[in-house]
Symmetry: C2
Subunit: 591 residues, 2 copies
Amino acid sequence: MKPVSLVEIIKKGGKLALSGKKISWFPPSEWLATYNKDTLSSDLIAALIVTIMLIPQSLAYALLAGLPPEVGLYASIFPLLAYAIFGTSRTLAVGPVAVVSLLTASTIGAIAAQGSADYLTAAILLAFISGLFLLLLGIFKLGFLANFLSHPVITGFINAAALIIATSQLKHLLGIKVSGRSFYELVTSILSQLAQTNMITLTLGTAVAGFLIWSRKGLKKLLVANGVKPLLAAVISKAGPLIAVIITVLISATLGLEHYGVRIVGDIPVGLPSLNIPSFNPELWSTLVGPAILISIIGFMESISVAQTLAAKKRQRITPNQELIGLGAANIASAFSGSYPVTGGFSRSVVNFDAGAETPAAGAFTAIGIAIAALLLTPLLYFLPVATLAAIIIVAVASLIDFSTMGQTWRYSRADFAAMLATIIITLLFGVEKGVMSGVALSIGVHLYNTSRPHVAIIGNVAGTEHFRNILRHEVSTSPRVLSLRVDESLYFANARFLEDYIYDQVAKRPKLEHVILQCAAVNAIDASAFESIEEINRRLKDSDVKFSMSEIKGPVMDRLKRTEFFHHLTGNVYLSHYQAIKEIDPESLK
Amino acid sequence: MKPVSLVEIIKKGGKLALSGKKISWFPPSEWLATYNKDTLSSDLIAALIVTIMLIPQSLAYALLAGLPPEVGLYASIFPLLAYAIFGTSRTLAVGPVAVVSLLTASTIGAIAAQGSADYLTAAILLAFISGLFLLLLGIFKLGFLANFLSHPVITGFINAAALIIATSQLKHLLGIKVSGRSFYELVTSILSQLAQTNMITLTLGTAVAGFLIWSRKGLKKLLVANGVKPLLAAVISKAGPLIAVIITVLISATLGLEHYGVRIVGDIPVGLPSLNIPSFNPELWSTLVGPAILISIIGFMESISVAQTLAAKKRQRITPNQELIGLGAANIASAFSGSYPVTGGFSRSVVNFDAGAETPAAGAFTAIGIAIAALLLTPLLYFLPVATLAAIIIVAVASLIDFSTMGQTWRYSRADFAAMLATIIITLLFGVEKGVMSGVALSIGVHLYNTSRPHVAIIGNVAGTEHFRNILRHEVSTSPRVLSLRVDESLYFANARFLEDYIYDQVAKRPKLEHVILQCAAVNAIDASAFESIEEINRRLKDSDVKFSMSEIKGPVMDRLKRTEFFHHLTGNVYLSHYQAIKEIDPESLK
């Protein structure tokens, strides 16, 4: 193979076909060509708004992940640049997010003490393995694996995770020390420590939470009503968390709140992240591979949902496998900056979109904004009360809780609701990893169960037509010599025996029977197990002197059957239409 | 609830409806009423032949399971009686079988030393838990769970298990001591010990194996050719293993082979099994629950296959959930007789059927035959060379190896073949439990993968008809304003996003598009995840100013959709037929 120079790749639009859909090594070539002053100013405004939102979020989510605040800022610089280069969504805002931070805390909390060097080492390696895994999924086009998380399982998981996150932050709002990581441990620990509540911390935290809730809707209205221009009002209203940070820093510094037992953030190192090489401790790798895969998939799901939603609004397309590469690169960048797993955040991306971001350059500009903050603003955060960050987290995750989908799922499908409820309960009782795993197993189980008992109808001819319909629902004519069956499902291992059983039962009931004809119009596939069952049906019916025929077999199914000896053994025939079959076998039964 | 007396149950035919299909507490009421002298004599002859076959098999399979020979006989008395009372197959011959014996050895070998009291205790508890599990599956009608073992996985597993069984018996044929349980360990251990081979043992074992292979086909022919009546010739030809036992006992006793290093069976306790209460050690229970479930399911699969095959030949029906109860009772009886897990054996049942067994009474008579053997014949087996039993096992399992199905699966479906091959390789490398588990996971994975990328066709109108066909395969007319899609798969979580992606891709390509119509004739179900995807498609198409409609929705799918708000949000309409849809939306596109 001829080596391809980087310049050539960029010139050609960077498209290298691997197999099937194209994966691009340099997606910016798509938008760089048309970049102009207008897009630049749109991107700059969006970047400003997102930066204002991201500074307090970075600090808060690092707290949630059990990491020092500066690590949150580090997660918001180079990962954003990496995504801007390798991702396809024009408006996705990558960085630390709540659920991934919780998963990080839950994974690493089990193997290292918070604040220890081992804890940070593990977080960095987690980001690195996640990045590698996402890259591999993208390169091998395995993005479809994420689909095995069903919607009910995700909804259930997010609800339970939000509850755990909010509970885990209550200690900072109450100013108490709490142990435990599962929901149950957290709740009992909080209840036992309730008497130690620091009233000043609680007042401050509650006030911040109240302000944040109000600022989401009320602030913009208030500003506009007072003559502030809508664009500026929008910027300021997104700055609610930043305003809360500034005000509480001022209060905390002025009143010396740390002397009254209010925990403050303290020293944050000034400067950009230094280059970090992930650990190669094999034991740590083997411990973290499982959780890293889980974090990658959940992060990818969150990211791709919001990316697709936003892309659809402008009739743009994102490429899921390219997104995997973008997020993989972002996580590897995060690991090399000494930080923890990142993904595309929901609320931040929506803000980025609404603020008018036109290209991924907005993400790069946001990275520059956070870099400036890391260089200049960190000394100002010394007096920041931890309760402020906790309030920001609690308000953010409260909006993740979604009861309406739960109600809708209950009405739509009891089985899916059961999978959702089980995910919630197991997540709360046994932790996030077990919760998701059980949810996945359950939703696969529910699917297999449902398809393992397909709808099978005995059909008869609708007088005067060539149609055959369910004898239970329609006025149809049948023949005592012929049993016509329609099965409404693809045939595969989980339902192959069901069909066998059904047919033998029906045959045993009909002593005069001479023919069984299976109408296969709804059979989209027949796997090897079902194929053996069909051969077995043919063989056993032969033992009972009943001929077995099939009608209306679909093209791809027919192609596959033709590769076997089946049609040599088939005691009956294959018919293009069920009407033809009956016309040939028992024309008198047609009225 | 009124208590029901046993007499009443028997009088009423013992049918108590639990829910849905009836489960019978006393199935013999079905055949006892018509029992007469003819059925009695048929059953007696069949029982005699099966007893002759079962005596050496019982001893051999106990050896394979790592248990004393009498335990094999015990497994062939009360379990057979229990099955005769609670089972539904008229010809199934229950007792120890090769694969279940291997699974027993593999499970217990990991936790206790062969020959120790702990080993037997564990084997008994394994039978008890298996019995309980089968009973519970039967009572709660969960027999369908067995369907999650796909045919390729079973074939792969049986092939690998047969290979492991044969290898594990080679040591007895060579007269060497071998350690290890996995295939790799066995092979390396045998190779390292090959120099210690006892030539007399090897000669004897090889001669027995050769005789057994020949007797399967050659013996009956020879006898018939020499004027023996066919029925008697058939009986004698099934007695190959028994003849081998008798001859080698005589040789061994006469020549005093044990003094030449030939291992003999030695003392076997005389008498019937005494009542045994299974252990209630909770630690042992928790160790054995997993393997017991696996053994139950594999045993049930083997049993139900042969039972159904034989029942179909006489247009009889067996009830899978009742079979679970029959096999559960047999295993509990085995535990109480101090023995190990049993199930319906393939070759023995076929012999029972061919020998003319008419009712389960044949099984009861076989049990009496084995009881007589346990009372009278065991002293005669003192000199029986272990190599004879090993040869019986090797010849029996050699017939389980099935390359033709492997070849057929390869031709039919590469994905199924991959699952089969993986099962074989993992079983050989990592043992039987891991092999089956991986196989199940793989076949579920293959199914999900296949259905996660359903066939979606863009369809157009066939001129002059109301039919719509794939634009790639047929001459059809389409409209630039309307995109008609047909999806050939039920929609569920694994393929919901695929459909979304597909639709967004197609819409992004067509700037003039105003309508998307999804033809749902092949959609047998829509789960909660897919429902959310459809809502999302509707929502996103709305954002792109494209209306979304659906046609030919099946009744049950429609019923479910009607329970939601979906039709209030739907931007387009629901049409009974696709033709109606196009006639209303863009009649000019119809030629």
